[in-house]
Subunit: 407 residues, 2 copies
Amino acid sequence: MATLRKLLMDTGIISLRSNGMFALLPLGERVMMKLTKLIDKEMSCIGAQRLSLPLLTSGDLWKKTGRWESTGQELLKIEDRHGKEYVLSPTHEEAITSLMSEIYPFSFRQLPLRLYQINSKFRDEMKPRFGLLRCREFIMKDLYTFDNSVEAAHDTYQEICSAYDRIFHRLRIPFLKVTGDCGSIGGTHSHEYHYISPTGEDTLCVCDNCGNSKNAELVSSDKSDSCDKCGSHVHQVAGIEVGHTFLLGTKYSKPLKALYQNESGKPELLQMGCYGIGVSRLLAASVEVLAEDKNIKWPWEIVPFKICLIGPKKGSKEASSALWVDHLAEVMSGMPGLLDEVVVDDRDRLTIGKRVMEAKQSGYPFIIVVGKRACEMVPMFELLDCTTGKSEFLSHKMLMNWVRELP
Amino acid sequence: MATLRKLLMDTGIISLRSNGMFALLPLGERVMMKLTKLIDKEMSCIGAQRLSLPLLTSGDLWKKTGRWESTGQELLKIEDRHGKEYVLSPTHEEAITSLMSEIYPFSFRQLPLRLYQINSKFRDEMKPRFGLLRCREFIMKDLYTFDNSVEAAHDTYQEICSAYDRIFHRLRIPFLKVTGDCGSIGGTHSHEYHYISPTGEDTLCVCDNCGNSKNAELVSSDKSDSCDKCGSHVHQVAGIEVGHTFLLGTKYSKPLKALYQNESGKPELLQMGCYGIGVSRLLAASVEVLAEDKNIKWPWEIVPFKICLIGPKKGSKEASSALWVDHLAEVMSGMPGLLDEVVVDDRDRLTIGKRVMEAKQSGYPFIIVVGKRACEMVPMFELLDCTTGKSEFLSHKMLMNWVRELP
């Protein structure tokens, strides 16, 4: 994974700023924006509303739930000038639950309620590793749900999991959903979404027959080779966790007194769920799983640019073809599906070869080279399809037809 | 301004979570998203690229520039488990300059470079006040520019100011641009963007004749009533600062050794500028300036929803007209300009009157009431235009014609 981290840094996706803390450079930021948009869409389909809670949460709330002490040294604590304590939030169960408790009285008719945010989270890892996969400041999407009964919360849990399935399907990277450990978040029910990768930190046990899958943490070592559902053989794979869902019950609503009014107008505890996606981790994990020959291969939905245009080297024989680059960039960027999706590598002191190599490394799915053959009577342009590895020369007309058919 | 803060809280735009720290609730988050989109567009026009720096900046960098000490108690400092010091960044000059210094060697040909971000900033205000106008955690847009000469940096400064002018013009709230104090950020040149408001914390001196304007901090008290450019009379107004631009020169590039290679290949210091917009403050300031009769009036570009639909009360005589609400919501949301811009107030246990009052308070520009007259042979719908205060009854056909003509 050292290679992966280097690849992300070499291609200008991220930059290490401090131990376990990365900047998202413009290309990385673009990927993150597309991931955010994809998540926003699916959240909107299930009626989830986006909000932003402060990144600092009052220490008192964390004391009430017991996590001020139990979370240990990963929790970054801070005191303000008046000596009041805060947590640099690694997650926001306390913050959202206290918000809900203040809204009371509020009616069962307003449930279910689904609120999420996409922002920075903090965790003071002892040993940050693997670039964006395990760092101390990262971007997380966290969704919290509120229901008026255990059954309704179960239904919500299923519905959110379906939305998560759709998000991961849209990225078109095979994933495994396994029963997870409730750990420090708590609750009665938990599932993890994993990308299968030899470099993953988690071990997953998958039944060869019925598909029943669990995090190895949940399996006692003497039963690790047979399925507890059907008894068939179980094999192990390594996974990178990219999402985690929890049915929380009243773990947080109880200590923080988050209530609603039931049909008889009486106060009752909210039934909660929480659902996370490691958005910056998803960026890195995608690269980890899909990269080939030290070249990034982005999922189509989150590629930073769909087309990279490369013109002739300055001072070369074919330098006059440079005009074509501006023309093609303008025409293509004007097409509905390609708005802001075309990047020109205008570093014309570098050879075409060097730039093509770097464009492949950066994972642009299509590279169009305007070189020697663009100076011919009938100008020809080279189209490199990095998704198949094929390349061909196309006339202007053929190129326009090709580009119009892009999804 | 206590009233303003209360208005924002009563309408569910924001919620106070801790002293000087607010949550942006779904309506507030929508306004923030629209502000972000508007800024992104103008930044893209001037070739500025978006990125994300970590919110924690190494304390060592702040020591190198001298701001670790000079910033005083507003700076929130934190130690990690290994005792390393960090700053919860109130601004990112140190962070971005150190990033640039690590990119070296890099050529004058790659300049100018313009990098910005929109994210959380922290300032431990002694006395947080006025809701989002002066708080301890807030959303800022910060842009940093890098040039290869003083002249080029000046040109950049003008170009960025023009982009800022366009951003503020698009919000259609009158603003005043005044010469500002370079203060703790430093540099040689600074301008502030202000909304004029009797409740503003800044005092601005404006010449009646030539328009020369300055923050009163820059004017010695004995010269405060005549213009230092044309000698004419100067009047004072109160303003809310919503943007601030600085020509920094080498204030940060020198201590942090941020260099580029000039035309002879020799290292030279980068000439820098920095440019901020208080995005969450802009939300609050807009409300402060435009609110009328305790009703919010949003600038059109950032209104959370353009149309609010209100149906009949449950159990009322006109309850059968409720079907029209779903129909109108579906048809209108399907129109290109209204995608995700129509909200239905479905709290049908409340009277129409109560909901209309709240919709006006929330600042929806158009309210459509489906009430008694929607049950007539030719159903009629009430359109309240909150931008003019007028209301009229329209048939379905007239309503559809009206909605198609919305900008």
